[in-house]
């Protein structure tokens, strides 16, 4: 209880107020709904004890750095420069709240304005907010935003087309965010190489928006998407989900017609952290600005004309617009976006390119190595990929994965969990930390599985 400065001084304070006991402070709670006795919870612990328990429990988890690991599926086993967490956790950043008082929040505001710039540069679109909860809510809110902007102007209001190769968990979030407000979602299939069926995509023309991912759920980079604007016409919003790391080498969607770009920001700034806190990026064209979700920082001036930063366009937000707000976001992921900003700034343009190339090169090497294994089959041998690729194994992928885990390798993601018909597919993810020896261990262990199961 070293957290309570007034412990032991209760009476002193009560006396000053003229209140006789702590109990009196809770007399306003009607007796009928008062709790009885002590909370049925264990006694308080000391810092030493909590740390010991935390180390025991967290130590029981198998962390990705403890062995070769090929699980990605939307998050990155990244390398975060040491500076990032050390500086981002300075108390002035760490323990601040939403910068409602810009005069004493210039640090975070400027950092977020710089973040907006870096995201804008990254994806090739002029506007960025200061983060969404994660890639999935970013995609979901991009869709509802596009519907708000486009519904009155298109033939198919409240209708959105979505690539069927969006990871199902993300799709589920999209469905939750869209179904209450009655948005009709139609899926677009892919051909056998994992490329979007552009003929069917053409049906999206006249709808509010089309949502695709580049790379898609199988890691495939789809050249056809470059023609999407042509295919859907000018009126339909193109929303693209990206792997941010790919954009050091892959053309950003802003350059081929995207109206909104979303994605998982996590590869810049923070470890996978069991899925959160992470942050979604959200960038768009100017037409979406006034109906977009999330916080936005603008440059301004103070009373003396000095440059200053402040939250702007707050009239979109729930604390002002209430039920007509463009989103319900209040707490967001700024602190994590700050880490992202630091990481991006450290990388610089050249560092980003190197990083992309590293991820791509380990992906390529893993593909090359695994394709030489008799009994393994690439699901999409002809398609260019980034970070991830799918392989078909003999037997059930869940069993294959258990087998290779026994051999010391976290071997990827069982695609059967997403699509029951792909119960023998494994999604293998590579990254900047993947080494040649990791790949050869993966190969060895998968070869052993092939032998075992034949």
């Amino acid at each position: 209880m070293d957290q309570l400065p007034n412990l032991g001084r209760e009476q002193e304070m009560l006396d000053i107020m003229g209140v006789s006991s702590m109990k009196d402070l809770f007399e306003d709670i009607p007796v009928e709904i008062r709790s009885e006795g002590t909370l049925p919870l264990p006694p308080p612990q000391t810092e030493e004890e909590i740390l010991r328990d935390a180390e025991r429990l967290l130590g029981a988890n198998v962390n990705l750095d403890s062995r070769p690991s090929f699980i990605s599926a939307g998050l990155a086993r990244n390398f975060v420069p040491s500076m990032v967490p050390m500086i981002a956790t300075r108390g002035e950043f760490l323990t601040s709240y939403t910068p409602y008082q810009p005069e004493v929040s210039q640090g975070m505001l400027q950092a977020m304005w710089e973040f907006q710039t870096m995201i804008s540069e990254l994806v090739g679109l002029p506007i960025s907010n200061v983060s969404m909860y994660d890639a999935s809510t970013s995609a979901a809110e991009a869709i509802t935003c596009a519907v708000r902007v486009k519904s009155k102007k298109v033939d198919m209001p409240n209708t959105v087309y979505i690539s069927e190769l969006v990871p199902p968990h993300r799709m589920s979030v999209i469905e939750n965010y869209t179904q209450g407000v009655g948005i009709d979602i139609r899926k677009i299939p892919h051909d056998e190489d994992g490329f979007l069926n552009l003929n069917i995509a053409a049906e999206a023309s006249g709808s509010c928006a089309i949502y695709v991912e580049q790379p898609n759920a199988f890691g495939i980079l789809d050249e056809g998407l470059l023609r999407l604007r042509e295919v859907v016409g000018d009126k339909t919003a193109i929303i693209v989900g990206v792997d941010v790391t790919s954009l050091g080498i892959v053309e950003p969607p802003g350059n081929w017609g995207a109206d909104i770009v979303v994605g998982e920001g996590q590869p810049f700034g923070i470890g996978p952290t069991a899925g959160g806190p992470i942050y979604g990026i959200f960038a768009c064209k100017k037409d979406f600005l006034r109906l977009m979700p999330g916080r936005i920082v603008g440059q301004s001036i103070d009373t003396e004309g000095k440059t200053a930063y402040t939250l702007t366009l707050s009239t979109r937000e729930q604390h002002i617009r209430r039920h007509r707000a463009t989103s319900n976001i209040c707490s967001n992921e700024t602190l994590i976006a700050l880490m992202g900003a630091m990481h991006m700034a450290l990388l610089g343009p050249v560092g980003l390119e190197t990083l992309s190339t590293r991820v791509l090169s380990s992906t390529r090497m893993a593909i090359d190595e695994l394709s030489s294994v008799e009994g393994l089959e690439l699901a999409f041998p002809k398609s260019p990929v980034f970070r991830e690729f799918a392989v078909k194994v003999p037997g059930k992928s869940s069993e294959a994965l258990s087998h290779i885990f026994e051999l010391g390798v976290i071997g990827g993601f069982d695609l059967g969990q997403w699509w029951p018909d792909k119960g023998s597919w494994i999604l293998i993810g590579c990254d900047e930390r993947t080494s040649e020896s990791d790949i050869s261990l993966l190969k060895k262990s998968l070869t052993s599985w092939v032998e075992e199961s034949s």
Binding site: Q3, L4, N6, M17, M22, F26, D28, I33, A54, L58, A60, N61, D65, I87, R90, E92, T95, Y97, T98, Q101, E103, S105, Q106, G107, M108, Q110, E114, E121, P126, S131, Y133, S136, H169, S172, V173, G180, L221, L226, V250, E251, A274, G276, P277, Y279, G298, A308, T312, L313, N328, C330, S331, N332, E333, T334, L347, G348, P349, R358, M365, L401
Partner: protein, 502 residues
């Protein structure tokens, strides 16, 4: 002014030093047309420059660590440093949410413990940790309620009732689920108006959303009646848990008659949410709603005797999908890092969480007393009036600055800005909107008596001060009062302004 990061023009070819790619020819595997040909114009700076840049920026930022942060409704309490240390453990930082259960037993055990603890503290039956913020918790719970009504064929319930004092996220969340919002006015004393509620409910009522203690910081004594009214109309009662810090161990939303509740872990259970996030907004529900909860939850089963399991307690922890789950509201399992911090926070109090709430309430009442009882020798222009008359408040309270405005022209905002000069974060301004010139103060349990005494004294000094000084405040901050209209008019949202143009 600190230069922006784009003013650095350090090493021409800098870039974080990295090992070389494993192979050289990989780019050739991407079709030419898809390759990026102009790299983003990111900063080109060295580590030394960036450490200094961000250090300097931080120095222009106010946090709990630098001073008293009485931001009402936000529960800005101290963040124990142990919690930050714990989340550096690779057993959380370097974990993938899709790893098989066998690889994450420790994390699942923490999730399970937190689900249980939150259920106990709130009188709910089931808890999910997936929502990543309070607002997302609201949205999630309303979605569950929506499915609940749908499953019962109750398809006409398309309205959600909120008091006019509700937090903006309440109506915004309900409206994201497609609900119409019925706002009911508060009674003249700021409390819930049961008559207004009675006339608002009906067959179209899906739910009512309310927080207790209310956003005015006072406990709604008639909450059980309100629940009764809504329930008898067939509606569900939703508890906005932002004010949970006031009541732990004293009462709980279950007893009050609520069906669903969200917790702001980042408030009640402390959580660094620098700049406004991250948060964590678990929800708890009563049995009848539990099968709609997002998927997955954590459950456990006893292992055969003799097998102590990976975490040593004789249980196997596993994910479980509720029968009629609404699916997902975040792609993974919520903000696991925030959950682990909150777990560490909870462990520090254990069953004494009640002490925490007692001290939060003690501090709020003490500060209110001090603020409302100035030294009589002071020449105060006008005293504020209580936002809500009450014998005692809970963890926060509101004051209306209207009298001051009438006498001197000084608004609540001016006072808020002037407080910055004294080294404080301003209280919450103009919320709840039903109190004119509202300032809302929440000291939390982690502030000492000395800090509260000094704050009250400084507040009185402002009330007694030359109004011109207050009207033009702040004077000692890194920048003067910032022109928000200018920002909205010029919309300079990146550097340089109009790139990439579109």
């Amino acid at each position: 002014m600190t230069d922006t990061i784009f003013d650095f023009n350090g090493s021409k070819n800098a870039g974080w030093s990295q090992p070389s790619p494993l192979t050289e020819d990989s780019p050739s595997h991407i079709p030419e047309s898809m390759r990026r040909n102009r790299l983003p114009d990111w900063p080109r700076a060295s580590e030394p420059e960036l450490v200094r840049h961000y250090t300097k920026l931080s120095q222009k930022n106010f946090g709990i660590d630098t001073g008293f942060y009485p931001l009402g409704s936000c529960t800005m309490k101290h963040n124990p440093r142990l919690n930050e240390k714990i989340v550096q453990n690779p057993g959380i930082d370097r974990i993938h949410p899709l790893q098989p259960e066998a690889q994450v037993q420790g994390l699942l055990a923490i999730y399970y413990e937190m689900q249980e603890m939150l259920a106990i503290c709130s009188g709910m039956d089931a808890v999910t940790l997936q929502p990543v913020a309070g607002a997302q918790g609201e949205f999630t719970a309303i979605r569950c309620i929506q499915e609940y009504h749908r499953e019962r064929g109750d398809n006409h319930r398309d309205k959600v009732i909120v008091p006019d004092s509700a937090h903006g996220t309440n109506p915004a969340s309900a409206s994201m689920c497609g609900y119409q919002i019925i706002e009911i006015p508060s009674a003249h004393d700021g409390r819930i108006d049961l008559d207004a509620l009675r006339s608002a409910v009906g067959e179209d009522t899906a739910a009512m959303m309310i927080t207790n203690p209310s956003t005015l910081g006072v406990f709604e004594p008639e909450i059980a009646e309100a629940a009764e009214i809504v329930h008898s109309a067939g509606g569900q009662m939703y508890y906005d848990g932002a004010n949970f810090n006031a009541i732990l161990g004293k009462t709980d939303p279950g007893r009050m008659g609520f069906d669903a509740v969200h917790y702001n872990l980042h408030k009640t259970f402390s959580q660094p949410h620098g700049g406004g996030g991250p948060g964590s907004g678990p929800i708890g529900v009563k049995d009848h709603l539990s099968k709609f909860l997002p998927s997955p939850l954590v459950n456990r089963k006893e292992l055969p005797s003799g097998d102590i399991g990976t975490v040593g307690d004789g249980f196997w922890y596993h994910w479980e999908s509720p029968a009629s789950t609404i699916g997902k509201v975040q792609q993974w399992n919520g903000n696991a890092g925030a959950v682990v911090r909150a777990w560490a926070f909870y462990r520090r109090y254990g069953r004494d969480l009640e002490r925490m709430s007692e001290h939060a309430v003690l501090n709020a009442n003490y500060l209110r007393f001090r603020m409302m009882n100035p030294n009589p020798d002071l020449n105060i222009h006008a005293m504020p009036i209580e936002g809500c008359p009450a014998e005692v408040v809970k963890h926060e309270f509101t004051l209306s600055m209207s009298p001051l405005k009438d006498v001197t022209g000084v608004t609540g905002k001016d006072v808020a800005k002037r407080l910055l000069d004294f080294g404080y974060m301003a209280p919450t301004l103009y919320f709840p909107q039903i109190v004119p010139e509202c300032l809302m103060f929440e000291p939390t349990e982690t502030e000492s008596k000395e800090v509260l005494d000094k704050f009250a004294e400084d507040f009185h000094a402002i009330l007694a001060e030359d109004p011109d000084i207050v009207l033009t405040a702040p004077h000692t901050t890194p920048v003067g009062r910032v022109d928000e209209v200018w920002a909205a008019r010029n919309l300079i949202l990146r550097y340089p302004k109009d790139e990439p143009s579109s």
